[in-house]
């Protein structure tokens, strides 16, 4: 009883929280090798080496930062990622946070992530970090809107806001086929909220690292780790909402979830560096003029499909 409700789900969440970002870093290394950025052996060790270097480097101080908020922001982002992972159902019984409104809770994690990212950039009290924070806030709202419409779409056929019900509703047909627009939109939002690849406007190269431009050492390690963990949480939610979660033949449910998450992560790691960074103006238009109407279409599609 306790084993099923508490121990196994928590163990899986912790494992995903630790292994997920590591595997994502390895996948990133693989992609970088494909692009000719790195060479030689040590693909599996490279993330650990980078982490060890960050641990040795001291954390720096800027002039008159908001100390508490600055030190806390990476940890808060990691906590949000962990909260997101806790919502992922590993099997019908193994869910760490099994509440009736897990989709809404995920939405609030996305909303609070905006606050935390702003905090990270603002509290350092330096100019380039602040510009990164402004940029993210200006765009964050549209990310949340797109993701929420898409997720309401998967809640419709399930007639529930709980992710477990969403998975059960996919027994006949996975949502990725039933609502073909949903998963692509959700994954784009995933890249945007963890600011990777073309959507990396908050931590971008033109700001010399954006919100983390003045962060070093262990603090930077936590921040980068949390960013990866957030993407892992995203892949977990995408798995549950669109790829049928634990559903699948032969293998036990949690393994299916892990495989699907890895596949999503690999896709995102490959997509990330494939495109040039958007200008903020392009990004705003893309979100409000293209993706948001597409999300409406997806929602109407889901509604019509649920009625018939």
């Amino acid at each position: 009883m306790i084993l099923d409700q508490l121990v196994w789900p928590l163990a899986l969440v912790l494992a995903a929280l630790v292994l997920g970002p590591y595997l994502l870093a390895v996948l990133d290394g693989l992609v970088a090798r494909g692009l000719g950025l790195t060479r030689g052996p040590g693909l599996w060790l490279a993330p650990l080496r980078r982490g060890a270097w960050w641990l040795i480097q001291h954390t720096n101080v800027t002039e008159a930062p908001d100390g508490r908020a600055w030190r806390l922001a990476p940890a808060l982002y990691l906590a949000l990622a962990a909260g997101g992972l806790a919502l992922v159902p590993w099997s019908r019984a193994w869910v760490a946070t099994d509440i009736a409104t897990s989709l809404v809770l995920w939405g609030s994690i996305e909303a609070l992530a905006t606050v935390v990212i702003f905090l990270q950039g603002w509290s350092a009290n330096t100019h380039l970090t602040l510009v990164g924070a402004y940029r993210y806030v200006a765009l964050g709202l549209s990310y949340i809107l797109v993701s929420m419409f898409v997720l309401i779409g998967v809640a419709l056929p399930a007639e529930s806001l709980a992710l477990t019900q969403v998975i059960i509703s996919q027994q006949e047909l996975w949502n990725v086929l039933r609502q073909p627009l949903g998963l692509p939109l959700f994954l784009i939002v995933g890249l945007a909220i963890t600011f990777r690849g073309p959507f990396n406007l908050a931590d971008s190269t033109d700001l010399a690292g954006g919100t983390s431009a003045d962060v070093s050492g262990a603090q930077r390690l936590v921040w980068e780790f949390a960013r990866s963990a957030m993407l892992v949480a995203f892949s977990g939610i995408a798995t549950a909402a669109f790829l049928g979660g634990w559903l699948g033949p032969w293998l036990p449910g949690p393994l299916w979830v892990a495989f699907k998450m890895l596949a999503v992560l690999a896709l995102l790691a490959w997509l990330g560096p494939a495109f040039a960074r958007l200008t903020p103006e392009h990004c705003v238009s893309l979100m409000w003029v293209v993706l948001l109407p597409l999300a409406f279409v997806d929602l109407i599609w889901a509604g019509v499909e649920a009625l018939s």
Binding site: I99, T101, L105, A111, T114, V115, W122, N125
Partner: protein
Amino acid sequence: MNPPLAVDIAFILLALFAVYTGWRVFRTDSMVRASFFLLLSFIAVGAIMLLLSAMYLGAAMFFMMGVEMMVMALFMVMFMMNPAGLNPMMMVHQHRLAIGAGIASFVIVAAMALLARFPHRPLPADLQEVESLGNELLGESMLIFESAAVVLLATMIGVVVLSSQRGRYGNAGEGSMPPGLDPGGEPAGMPEKDDEDDGGHHHCH
């Protein structure tokens, strides 16, 4: 129905946290911090709602307030005219009256809470609270829900009209004049009158 001890402890901690952060809103130096303190207060109240088994409202509270306070913080930075909102501020008027009114209203509402007798009718054990809320919203109270939506739409349009640069009477900024530092004083901080230049404002990278 006696809630377990853990719920009681959680409630007390969250309640103290909500009051403390609510108080800090008006006692902190930076506006950004003020709005994030308010956010913390809201989050604590949202968690209490979850404890009261209002699953949808609690989660929606996090969601709504996260976005709302973020916007609030940004506006604070923008309007308070100081770098990233990191200046101290203690800008109050009618302070005594306000304290008095605050305490008086607390006493009145608290007295109502303590003295009035409310019926004790707890939630039925088999209540599907999210489902019942959804049925209510899209069933009997559809009209209320929809009118709220219409009001929101009207607000959006009104807000855009109010705050846009070119209004019905031409450019909104025309003839604008900053207030004086003291009532009735010279307009402050107009660019062309900026003669109290400082030694140097360099922040090098």
